[in-house]
């Protein structure tokens, strides 16, 4: 029994133990060089997480799509098809790299690169376990939302730089959509911040020791999910890359690995948004002690991603003026009402408990 507890403790703190060991290799465990090494290693770990997530998700999307239509999805390569992504990646790398003639070359080429960097930057502040955030920033939530809103600019760059009317339409839709949904996204997170009095993601997770915030803030969770789906350009809000109207929107003129980078960036952003939802609303790395903390975290992220895919393959696409109506006339007032109710709740709680 005690060895079992000891084993679980070690597994839980595995990465912290490794980090301490690496720091111990230096003469002064907190010197500039030790910090620098740890930062580089953290960076590499985050990159690996993003790339792994993107690779697994490409296949998972096709599998889930198959299951909803009573098909097995890709099942030829590897055991039950799980090596399909390697074939997809090789295929994309082998394609011809075409830049349209009248395109603005610098903007055209930079857009996919930036969009692939964003998930790496956002996933660096999320705590994967106790004290296991690669970079611990005091303004975690604000940093997260700020960085993820740079993707609006990337879509506009891709849409304008392609010199194509379909891309321009898609790019304009992207700007309108993503700007409108930033505000409900941020406001729905403010309720949680008011309860925990801190923007730091580690503190938010530890404040959920007794009860996860999805119970205290159900309305904020729903608003966050809807606004998150709209930020990620996933169905039912995927007008930007609507196959049936604007042939792939801003991505029309991209081939080969450039398009692959957009794709991976979208899946990376999806992982980042799910990770934020799991951290802020579902309790992060906390869970019964049978499994290590990071395993609970990734299971919660997996559940959120599965729900996003489930919604994608069920609902039709929404129209652009309904989209705007939803953002400005429904979600924004609801999120402000949520802040009001949270404030009232905190006041009453303090009054009852403190007085």
């Amino acid at each position: 029994m005690e060895t079992l507890n000891y084993l679980l403790e070690t597994l839980n703190n595995l990465f912290l133990i490794i980090a301490d060991a690496i720091r111990g290799l230096f003469a002064d465990p907190h010197s500039v060089w030790a910090n620098l090494t740890m930062n580089v290693i953290n960076f590499i770990i985050v990159v690996i997480i993003v790339v792994l997530a993107a690779l697994i998700l490409i296949l998972l999307e096709r599998k889930v799509a198959g299951w909803t239509s009573q098909r097995p999805g890709p099942n030829r390569l590897g055991p039950r098809g799980w090596f399909q992504t390697i074939a997809d990646a090789l295929k994309l790398m082998g394609k011809e790299d075409v830049t349209p003639a009248g395109a603005d070359k610098f903007i055209f080429k930079i857009a996919p690169m930036i969009i692939f960097c964003l998930p790496m930057m956002t996933l660096a502040v999320i705590p994967y376990g106790k004290d296991m955030a690669p970079i611990n920033i005091d303004l975690g939530i604000l940093y997260f939302v700020a960085i993820s809103s740079i993707s609006t600019l990337c879509f506009l760059m891709a849409g304008w730089g392609s010199n194509n009317k379909y891309s321009l339409l898609g790019g304009m839709r992207a700007v309108a959509q993503m700007i409108s949904y930033e505000i409900p996204l941020l406001f729905s997170l403010l309720g949680v911040v008011m309860i925990t009095q801190s923007f730091n993601l580690g503190v938010i997770v530890e404040a959920q020791g007794t009860i996860p915030f999805i119970v205290l803030q159900p309305l904020a969770f729903v608003i966050f999910m809807i606004a998150g789906l709209a930020e990620l350009n996933r169905a039912p809000f995927d007008l930007v890359e609507a196959d049936q109207e604007v042939v792939a929107g801003p991505f029309t003129e991209y081939t080969g690995l450039r398009w692959g980078l957009f794709f991976l960036g979208e899946y990376g952003n999806m992982t980042a948004m799910s990770a934020l939802a799991a951290t802020v609303f579902l309790g992060g790395w906390q869970g019964p002690a049978i499994l290590p903390g990071y395993v609970w975290f990734f299971m919660k992220v997996g559940v959120m991603i599965f729900m996003m895919m489930w919604v994608r393959w069920t609902f039709p696409r929404i129209r652009i003026d309904h989209l705007m109506h939803l953002a400005w006339k429904v979600l924004l007032p609801l999120s402000i009402v949520n802040i009001l109710l949270t404030g009232l709740g905190i006041y009453i709680y303090r009054f009852v408990m403190g007085g």
Binding site: T68, R71, P72, W310
Partner: protein, 133 residues
């Protein structure tokens, strides 16, 4: 309440996700086609009386046959060609045959690499099929 239809849709999709798959795993399991499927034509040389009814029934002049008279002054089939590139696979030729020498077969794997392979010599194909069996 708003959203009831959405939840119903999610329920249907979930039920199908955890349910059985209906895919047929071709080419590991080849399908069993019904006997009347017009995927290909086959000629039985012995039953053919060279009446030319099939060539006359065809909308697109796909069939060309030649015959000669043997010792008993009866027609015997010499060559029988079908230009499958022009064929509609409509089955009018098989219906027109009075002795049922030309029949539909269920071979559906008819893909070829060269354009010349679209001229089928039906007698040769019958020989090849008999040798395979």
């Amino acid at each position: 309440m708003f959203g009831k239809g959405l939840l119903q849709g999610l329920g249907i999709t979930f039920k199908r996700m955890v349910g059985p798959n209906i895919t047929e795993f071709y080419p590991e399991e080849k399908p069993n086609l019904p006997t009347r499927v017009r995927s290909s034509m086959g000629l039985e040389r012995d039953k053919c009386i060279s009446c030319n009814m099939c060539a006359m029934a065809c909308p697109n002049s796909v069939i060309k046959l030649t015959s000669e008279k043997n010792e008993a002054n009866k027609k015997v089939l010499k060559t029988y060609h079908m230009d499958v590139g022009r064929c509609l696979f409509c089955g009018l030729c098989t219906e027109a045959c009075p002795t049922k020498a030309l029949k539909v077969t269920q071979d559906f794997e008819n893909a070829i690499f060269e354009a010349e392979d679209m001229h089928w010599d039906m007698i040769q194909r019958a020989e090849r099929k008999r040798k395979v069996e």
